[in-house]
């Protein structure tokens, strides 16, 4: 498989030993090719990730990411692809001049017995330290692992069924503003 590492930065976005790392895996009943194709177009990612507002591809290797942060603000950074094996691996990290230090990778491996593809996502970011660090922490929510798992579930549903399950916009009883008291969620 051809490998492209020509944009590898001089030092990693998240220095080893300083980052918070999240690794999640799921099996998707589609070929590595189809899944790779979707993910390689980073502009698709906001469809599956609730905390991404947009990702714009500046060049083949470089992209601009906009994510939701607390109080309806957004945070932005640039990322470059640092490693790519077609239909198998994409790895990216924030550019050295980005204030938001983070890195990620996604790997696609065939699952046994024709069960599709094992998708492993790995994300790394600098944990809370100062204002920006806190923003990043919020970015992934109080339970970042849950958020990443949610995103992977949505990716799987979209790939396997063409839609993402939702109940947003369905009817619900009462005036929610007045009836949703604390005892609402037991």
């Amino acid at each position: 498989m051809p490998t492209r590492t020509n944009h590898l930065p001089a030092r990693p976005a998240v220095r080893s030993g300083t980052g918070k790392k999240i690794v999640k895996a799921c099996t998707i009943n589609k070929s590595p090719e189809e899944l790779f194709r979707f993910w390689r177009r980073f502009e698709n990612l906001p469809r599956i990730s609730r905390h991404l507002v947009s990702v714009t591809e500046i060049s083949d290797m470089k992209s601009h990411w906009v994510a939701r942060s607390p109080a309806d603000n957004t945070v932005e950074w640039d990322a470059v692809i640092i490693n790519e094996h077609p239909n198998n691996l994409i790895a990216w990290e924030s550019t050295p001049d980005s204030e938001i230090k983070n890195a990620g990778s996604v790997r696609f491996e065939p699952a046994p017995a024709g069960q599709g593809t094992e998708v492993t996502v790995s994300l790394e970011y600098v944990p809370p330290a100062g204002k920006l660090g806190a923003m990043i922490a919020k970015l992934y929510g109080e339970e970042p692992e849950l958020q990443v798992e949610d995103d992977l579930n949505r990716f799987k549903a979209l790939m396997e069924t063409g839609e993402i399950p939702t109940t947003e916009g369905q009817p619900v009883g009462g005036d929610q503003k007045t009836t949703r008291r604390k005892r609402g969620a037991k």
Binding site: T27, N29, Q115, G116, L146, E149, D150, N153, K156, A157, E160, T161, G162, E163, I164, P165, T166, T167, E168, G169, Q170, P171, V172, G173, G174, Q176, T179, R180, R181, R183, G184, A185, K186
Partner: protein, 419 residues
């Protein structure tokens, strides 16, 4: 539209809510002609299922007419008359491909949270808590049905709503419970709980070749209905263990079905522990079944369990090499074959209905069903029927059968009682 909304323990209200809309390309909107209250809805009514929110629309047994379909729907058309399975399945994932429809990977938007509790999440369910997706249910005038090409089954001409409505849950659930027993010729199946699922399990066990079915309950009209289905009936107030041993020639039942679930009666210990939240479920029936089941036998559990159980005699299960089969029903798997049984006259599912009421009377109907007053066994709601059916008890043969007579027909338990 009008809809039955959950507001807390013993608090359901019929309210005006917005009409459902198509939210995803695979959705359909159904005008609901018949919908039922399920025994498992009583777990919601009793407040023992976590992650309900005020205003949630209840109901997972419903059928009706297709009003609108999303852009990706190909098989269903406006005007089709359909029954909707209670579990929502995508039809594409590993589990759907392996006929394990209620374990679908792709229909629960809250799967990640559910997985924190259970390890992995099952399918989304209509009207059954936010851990299972928080989908608005079918005790309403209209409902949105996701993956409409996968779940709903079209109903041929000539069958009434009430003949097919229970394909949505309780008939397949009773049937799967019996199928899970892997019944062989000559085998005896004991079934705890003569509610609607128990009733269908009794009849399904006979359809699948059981030699004898023994039903255990203590509600007289339910015991009588079990008898009408061919079961020998034992009162749960008696020494069930000894009676079942005697009735099975000392072997124990070949298979046991727990059609009661997490709110079993009979153990003060469990009631107290559940109230003070030291235990989420009351597994009284489960313990009894594990002890009496024959060596190498099967325990089939269609009754709902939701959390953590206390003092489960796993040692007994291990010592006897029991097989456990359980879980939400893979409804989609049973739609066609069970519809055929109804069409062929092998079973008439209407036998279980005791009450037919207007949607607006749902709050009263929940109370009657929960308290088992008025001989209530199964309530069907009619959201669009005009004039709306009054809340009154259906004249049943049952009423002519005096309760003492039913009690007298419990020979062994009666005999033991007299000793």
């Amino acid at each position: 539209m009008r809809a039955v909304c959950w507001y807390g323990t013993k608090d359901v209200r019929v309210e005006n809510v917005p009409d459902p809309k198509i939210l995803n390309p695979g959705d359909a909107i159904i005008k609901i002609t018949s919908t039922a209250i399920c025994g498992s809805d009583l777990h919601l009514y009793d407040g023992v299922i976590p992650s309900m929110k005020e205003g949630d629309i209840l109901g997972h047994e419903f059928m009706g007419e297709v009003m609108e379909v999303g852009s990706a729907v190909k098989k269903l058309q406006v005007g089709d008359r359909v029954v909707v399975p209670f579990c929502i399945s995508c039809g594409q994932c590993y589990y759907c491909n392996h006929q394990l429809w209620s374990l679908c990977d792709n229909t629960n938007p809250n799967a990640a949270i559910n997985a924190k509790l259970n390890g992995f999440s099952g399918a989304g369910l209509f009207g059954y808590s936010h851990l299972y997706g928080g989908y608005a249910g079918g005790q309403a005038e209209y409902a949105r049905v996701p993956f409409a090409d996968v779940g709903p089954i079209k109903i041929p001409e000539g069958l009434t709503d009430e003949q097919v409505l229970f394909l949505s849950d309780i008939f397949p659930t009773g049937y799967m419970a019996a199928e899970n027993c892997n019944i062989q010729p000559g085998q005896i199946v004991a079934i705890w709980g003569c509610g609607p699922v128990g009733q269908f399990a009794i009849r399904s066990a006979y359809l699948l070749g059981a030699e004898k079915v023994i039903a255990i309950d203590n509600v007289l009209e339910r015991m009588a209905m079990a008898q009408q289905g061919g079961a020998a009936v034992v009162s749960s107030d008696e020494d069930v263990h000894e009676i079942l041993k005697e009735m099975t020639g000392g072997r124990g039942p070949d298979a046991c079905i727990d059609a009661v679930g997490m709110e079993a009666h009979g153990s003060t210990y469990d009631v107290v522990k559940q109230v003070v939240k030291l235990e989420t479920d009351r597994p009284y029936v489960l313990r009894q079944a594990m002890r009496i089941c024959r060596k190498g036998g099967t325990l089939s559990i269609p009754g709902v369990y939701a959390g953590f159980l206390d003092k489960i005699p796993l040692g007994a299960a291990f010592a006897k090499g029991l097989t456990f089969k359980m879980g939400q029903t893979h409804v989609h798997r049973y739609l066609e074959p069970l519809l055929r049984l109804v069409q062929d006259g092998k079973i008439d599912p209407t036998f279980v209905i005791t009450h037919r009421v207007a949607l607006d009377e749902a709050a009263d109907a929940y109370e009657i069903f929960a308290k088992k007053t008025e001989n209530c066994i199964k309530v069907v709601l009619k959201p669009h029927e005009q004039p709306p059916p009054a809340l009154e008890r259906r004249a049943r043969e049952l009423e002519s059968l005096p309760s003492e007579e039913i009690a007298m027909e419990l020979p062994r338990s009666k005999r033991l009682h007299e000793k």
